[in-house]
């Protein structure tokens, strides 16, 4: 039985049998727009951040060159904060975009705006349009819309140190702001899924780890809004992939309880052990990006084979890839996963 890449991913995400795990790279914080691919294809960043044709072209070139079985857009995690007013430096070919200046000093200074209007413009519209192009041109290939999670977006719109303190000092204002951010993310998901024809939504929330927040705040401020977002995506009939950074430690049970269709983790997490502890989980990951950058090829093939052997449901990088990563190392992973089906 052979599946299209979209069928295989959707089956894996809904706990149906597959011939082998899909091997994907979601885009967003975990995109594979490496310098090597950009130079070969001519679709380059930072131009592709603001042009839907270039963005779709780059996403297609990444899939073609790397062997990942999906398209992932966008190639950064600053779009959401930019929509909410922060200044963004779009970076260079080698260096991803970053927040140049957060818009507000405190959560109480945040101006609440019409989120439906916000996502019609700027780079949100570019990303939705890129997704639409990809979905239309390549039926059978999953298009993943990658978003930055509520806490990470919030900490890119309000000065992050103040934001973290206000989670304790001004929890009501922090909740109002996070609800606003989540409302924007929901609209973005709607646009990506309905207008953009995306197959799935992936969310990374690196500023909301258990190591940063601790269990109580992780539950109150991270899990709560991630669940709201997941419910919204599910109501639209699409799967929700969640990436949690860092060592889960004391929030392991809380992360495992978030309503996602796949939980992706950092390389330090033993995914088979996580699955034994929480059998309901669909696990995703977690090829070390350190190994991806430094190789060598045989080691990466072994890492990938071991993940498949150990029953990880979806194979994927464990973190953001260095743009200096060489293509051969990535191919070693994707090829090793695919050979398993033979």
């Amino acid at each position: 039985m052979s599946y299209t890449q979209q069928e295989r991913l959707l089956r894996a995400l809904s706990k149906q049998n597959v011939d082998r795990p899909p091997v994907i790279c979601t885009g967003g914080m975990m995109n594979a727009a490496i310098v090597d691919v950009m130079r070969r294809s001519g679709f380059t960043l930072p131009a592709a951040h603001t042009d839907s044709g270039l963005m779709a072209g780059l996403a297609a070139a990444v899939r073609e060159a790397t062997g990942f079985e999906n398209f992932g857009v966008p190639f950064c995690m600053t779009t959401e904060a930019e929509l909410l007013g922060s200044d963004v430096d779009l970076g260079t070919l080698e260096c991803e975009p970053k927040i140049a200046r957060e818009k507000f000093p405190t959560v109480s200074a945040v101006e609440f705006r019409d989120v439906r209007r916000l996502i019609r413009d700027g780079r949100a519209a570019v990303i939705v349009s890129a997704a639409r192009r990809l979905a239309a041109a390549h039926p059978g290939v999953p298009v993943i819309g990658s978003l930055t999670g509520p806490v990470s977006t919030a900490a890119s719109v309000v000065d992050p140190l103040t934001f973290y303190k206000e989670l304790r000092r001004a929890p009501d204002a922090a909740h109002r702001f996070l609800a606003h951010v989540t409302a924007l993310l929901k609209e973005f998901c709607t646009a990506l899924l309905t207008d953009g024809g995306a197959t799935a939504i992936a969310v990374g929330d690196p500023s909301a780890t258990g190591e940063i927040l601790g269990p109580a705040m992780f539950e109150q401020f991270a899990a709560r809004y991630l669940n709201e977002l997941a419910a919204h995506v599910h109501a639209l009939g699409a799967p929700f992939i969640l990436h949690i950074c860092g060592d889960l430690k004391r929030v392991k049970h809380l992360a495992a309880a978030i309503h996602c269709d796949a939980l992706s983790t950092d390389a330090m997490i033993n995914l088979p052990a996580l699955k034994r502890e929480f059998p309901h989980l669909t696990t995703m990951g977690n090829v070390s990006t350190f190994a991806l950058e430094w190789g060598p090829v045989p080691k990466l093939a072994t890492i990938a084979r071991n993940l498949v052997r150990d029953g990880v449901d979806i194979i994927s990088p464990a973190c953001g890839l260095s743009t200096a990563t060489c293509l051969a190392n990535i191919r070693a992973v994707t090829d090793a996963v695919k050979e398993g089906a033979a």
Binding site: K98, I99, K165, T289, G320, S322
Partner: protein
Amino acid sequence: MSNSINNEETQLHAALADDVVAMDETNSVGHANEIVARQFDAYTAIDQGLVEGMNRVGKLFEQEEYFIPELLLSSDAMYAALDVLKPHIRRADGDQKPKVVFGVVEGDTHDIGKNLVKIMADSSGYEVIDLGRDVPPQKFVDEAVAVGASCIAISTLMTTTMDAMAEVVTILQKLKLREKFKVIVGGGPISPAFAEKIGADGYAPSAPTAVKLLNKLLAPPASA
């Protein structure tokens, strides 16, 4: 008489430490003002009260009882009281502190980890020179030379900017300055193996361990 004054002074030190642990800026400022009003030694109050409090906070952080929001609020309480006490320090001992140049490497603007290390180093008696975030490799070297630093501490959260850390070491080697400075690295994607690979002197996975690393690499500062 002198015993009871000593007791009161000691009690105020304990109160200051408790205020820092309790993240209570109002009380820490109140107790600092009391120290000043009663003409108790400001330097001892900083050392026995505020530094002691931050040490306890550091331990709670290592034990995963405190997390980043708590650490930041405790440091606010510490700094607010420090502002009250600093002008009253009688001993001039600032120039004996080892200097550490801190920064987040070019390409990255995530500075929370760097700020935590800075706070813990500051409260452990190091003089911290903060270059901020998105710092070019050359600037680390230039500033370290300019201020006569003992150590360069480089942080990044992004895999994409790890290579710029190696460049700092390369520049030091080219300028034949490598032996003049200790170089320590940290941040989400960094590992001890990476630190070794780029020729850094050390790696620490958290803010309290970064201070322990500084203590190990440099002569411990007078007040630590």
